[in-house]
Symmetry: D4
Subunit: 204 residues, 8 copies
């Protein structure tokens, strides 16, 4: 299906070499790229696709292309606030790289139910949801009361002070009063997309 | 207005003596009483009023009496789940002891918006809200998007595992995406009621 | 499908009343019961089924009955050590209560790969796995390299000292090098079974 | 009343665009600005007002203008030490942006009661107090014994070592022996001002 | 000068044997005794002195005897609240056992400066102070602004919720804005008295 | 005696202005200076004394001058490893600024008793000791068994990994098996010197 | 060589059955037994050997028998204080069960070097050392400077307050300034003995 | 055998001077060098050997030279992922500096047993293993079930979010279900090599 290279903390040369080698056989995706590393890869591989806001660079697929099924995607990624977008976009890009039909509903945090409710139809149509939230991390709990599909919760390190770099939403999600929420590591958009892929593969 | 004795961890004799002494001059309230201590005080002071479910014993006032203004109380105490009730009742009893018009809406956690929404009128009528929640502690965030009144958030130690005895909802409440939430200590129904009293005193 | 009552920390009278009321309409399951509470419920409702080792009491279904599809169940629950069994049995009983075909493979912790490997066929046949582990919580990582199905990870509070009541396996599971693991709260067999139900419902 | 943009961690372009759009309809305030971002906004919007020490930039109001009612303001912001000033100024600027009558008493930490006591008249005149403190976070406790008005406590990340970036004063404030203190997140001057606004709106 | 036996968690037989052996040569003090252990020692050694409220049993000295120099003692032990008294009494008893002139001022927590201020003369006369406080642990900071003598701070595990069994006052004391406070372990009245002894020995 | 300005995190202009103002009346000491800030102050005040390794700049005294009484100083500062030296030097400089007779014995960590033992005479001659240690923070415990004088323990943030920026030695020092050790905040050489000053003032 | 059953938290019936089954083929050791469980096993298996102070019960070997090689044992277990003895005895009993020549030196904590030093010859003769310590956990660091053999460090949960149930010595041991110390879990005497066995097996 | 200088956080001048002085008598190794410091040392001492990827610089030995005994080395260093390599190389280089026969097997994390199993012969031949792993830190547990030799576990700070800079694998390793694992500090390749040296010295 393709290979994924985790880019954080790696020298750009190492990523470049790995991409060149793997791209002979498969599509390749590099994640967690800094702006500079992403742009350097784009110069090396002009045929590739760089999605700066998601920290992704891909050879062999276009991650940002509109999903023809949207807003009826199998996978719906939902975010609480605009600062959660980079993680949500990582999940979205990885999901598309893995061949999923996926789209994004953003900025529907729980203090603004009036922004969430108009999306209820879309939310209920998705087969799997990924809820991305920092701050108090309550989005999966509210969603869990509204939809029947499995929910994958991604805490983000958005916030300050007693957020403790994502600990607050992580604990909140693990303690969700909506049963049946599966939690992944803080900022782990990649892992959420892989779990969604595994669930959706079972449906096929 | 009355005196309050914090009963937790104190020998019942010490509480009894303090009550006897203070009751000559004021109404007196003892909080955080175990079932045994509460009943022993009720035997000593037959004219007093014991509210077992709230851990309260009072000389000189009846804490459980229906509030004549309810459901139009100045102070509305809202709970997420039924396990939050002991803390909510402590807040309710203390509020009434302090002379406030207060009532309680319970079991309206964020995974059940359909249970919360019918109370919207009542919620918006209150001058101050106390939101009591364990688990992921999201109730104040949702309320903060629905009402304009100040919200006092009380995390409870309800939960297990990664709840860490109330740490999860405490952090969630401190990180609420609804600005303007004031948080008190875990299980501190008493402190929430006192803060409500101070705010409402300013309105008078 | 049935109603579930969380029994931990609740007085037995409250559980009994709730069961009596709900059982008129649905099967009812009470979870997290102490031995005494479970036996008291069994005396009150002689037609019910008590599973002591799982802390479960059920009216209207038999949770321990051998699954006719086993070992080809849709849901496979896998445990690292024998001290993880109570949580695994909670997951198993809840899954059966929810109507899932579920079975259990136990005592296949990662320090004994020779005990895990003979189950490889069974592991690969399941549509969803629940991995229950205390100590270092490595079971989901090893399973993630062996099967393609989604894995739900349940850390248990088994252990002592630097286990910190389940914190060690919780963190390990959130950091699994096998991507696509969804984690639930410490000891939360119930939540794992509900998530499995949601995923398997999508397959139907 | 106006719109507020949280500026921390956002690219200056994003803040600039949001300000331009919102300023057509309302006064707009950007918070948590770095020095560079603040100055860049001031160059873009020469009619705006930059308060560097508070990390604030405002279109449509002057935040630093002397409050005509001072020192008889409705809201009094009190700080323990001079390193708490940026957070206190954020609270002050936001309060004025929200239309409150607000002023500031600074450097009256609890190890210098002789500096605090001369302000007793001013302290007792305010309808709401915001106490801003790092280090051991004791200011709200001392104030709580001196005034009857509600106190909003803001821990700051001032300090080093076992301060743990504001954890020490946060815990101290949650454990205040003066009942009726509402705590907000570490360094959250904005949230404190919003809570003060909600309380004071009730008085009007 | 005498021997001290730390009694917590030890079987009473082991304490009894140690006392019997040591008492031949020196005064002996056992600390951290449960009520039962204390009373059992008192039955074994009728000439000994049991101070139940301090968890102390002593052979060869009377710990509770009024100090002839009080209130002009060299060492003054000051407590914030009445729940801090057991730890304060441990410090007082140990100090007297070590031969110090020591007395106690209690219930002068920082939310009640009007209760603290009348003791100012006594406070300023002491050569060393021990400040015992739970909750927000602010007492040493306030004292540090009022006296010149060295202050030994003892956090207590008094409190609940976000007190985390004494962590809150421990951190507060380590972060005191009054420089020159020496902190000992939570509830460690014994250690505080020994440090006072070492300091006062230097004065002699 | 002089004024001290805490320099960490403050703009150099603010420190400069404060020094200029205070220096008219007293000796002034600035602490926690970065290399750049220290050198900038030295250029502004050529008569001042900069001690780079200690992060100190002083007007009106020379902090590094050999102590005429050494090695028979009243105050002895002892360090475990060479990485603890900056904190130890801060303590030494502040002590001299405060007028104490103070000297330093370094690199005598507990894994090298053969390096500690030759200093036994010097150690036993001091009236007060400050023990500065990172890593496992065991130095005060070993010293406590060798000398009778009061010991002030300063944990340092030296170390990595499970040191958690000084938490490891802080906890070790609070749990010292040598009773009578007073602990100050991590890296708080200043506070240790002030406490030594208060103790030694009592001896005078 | 024998089988080991971890007894903590297991019903005595389960342990009894496991022992009966395994004892047909090997010596069997049960660890972490409560007093009651140990005595119940001793009644069931009168030929077995119960070591109450170590929480051990053994079929087929005598764990307490004096080691003929002592004090020249291959393995030397060293403890800081008397409260560390139960863990040290677990290590000693397990080591003997595993066939090692092992003995014990106790109560040589680092605040009493004069008690440690007389054992220097014995310490230097051992091929492997196990250092058991609670409180500040400094013993392995001091030993590491005195002997060349590998040191296995066992933190114990002895202590109170900021000991945090063994966290303080655990962190201290991980940060030992003596390189080459291998740490096991808090109170894990069993694991330390097994590691010693593995090392000593290599010497044979 | 040689001297080792810990280079982290030290000015390059200090390292250079120490190396120059010590190199007259012994081989010298500097560890934890930044790229710049390493290269600067290489310019100063052209006869030395810089191993950039390991942060090591050595005078008097070549650390990277192929081990003539490999893959039958006495010490085998095993890593889970490629990001663990810097720590593993530090261990390898230090081991060789200390004169050990040591080699490295990398990228055999527990989610890829098919990559680990081909090395089984090599793993079982080693006399001591060092297992280096970040993420969930499960490698020592799996190895412990496969080999009989003692295992030294090194957690690395590889990872993000709930990894908490190495805390997750540290706790996992301390809780390993494979008994007999000795753990060193996070990223402490040096300490692991020294412990291996002490163990192997006993075999000689």
């Amino acid at each position: 299906m393709g290979e994924v290279i985790y880019g954080q903390g790696k020298p750009v040369d190492q990523i470049r070499m790995a991409m060149a080698e793997l791209a002979n056989h498969h599509p390749v995706l590099a994640t967690r790229l800094s702006l500079e590393h992403g742009r350097e890869l784009a110069r090396t591989f002009p045929s590739g696709h760089l999605w700066e806001e998601a920290g992704l660079f891909c050879l062999g697929r276009n991650l940002e292309a509109a999903d023809p099924k949207a807003p009826n995607s199998d996978l719906l990624i939902v975010t609480a606030g605009s600062t959660d977008l980079p993680v949500a976009r990582e999940a979205l890009g990885v999901a598309r790289f893995l061949g999923l039909s996926a789209s994004l509903v953003s900025d529907v945090g729980v203090a603004g139910l009036h922004r969430l409710m108009p999306h209820l139809g879309t939310l209920r149509q998705a087969k799997v949801l990924i809820a991305v939230a920092g701050m108090e991390g309550a989005l999966p709990s509210v969603l869990g009361g509204l939809v029947k599909a499995p929910i994958i919760a991604v805490p983000t390190s958005t916030g300050y002070g007693a957020n403790f770099a994502g600990l607050a939403p992580l604990l909140a999600m693990l303690n969700s009063c909506a049963p049946g929420v599966g939690v992944v590591n803080i900022d782990n958009g990649f892992g959420a997309a892989v779990l969604a892929k595994k669930i959706l593969d079972g449906y096929a």
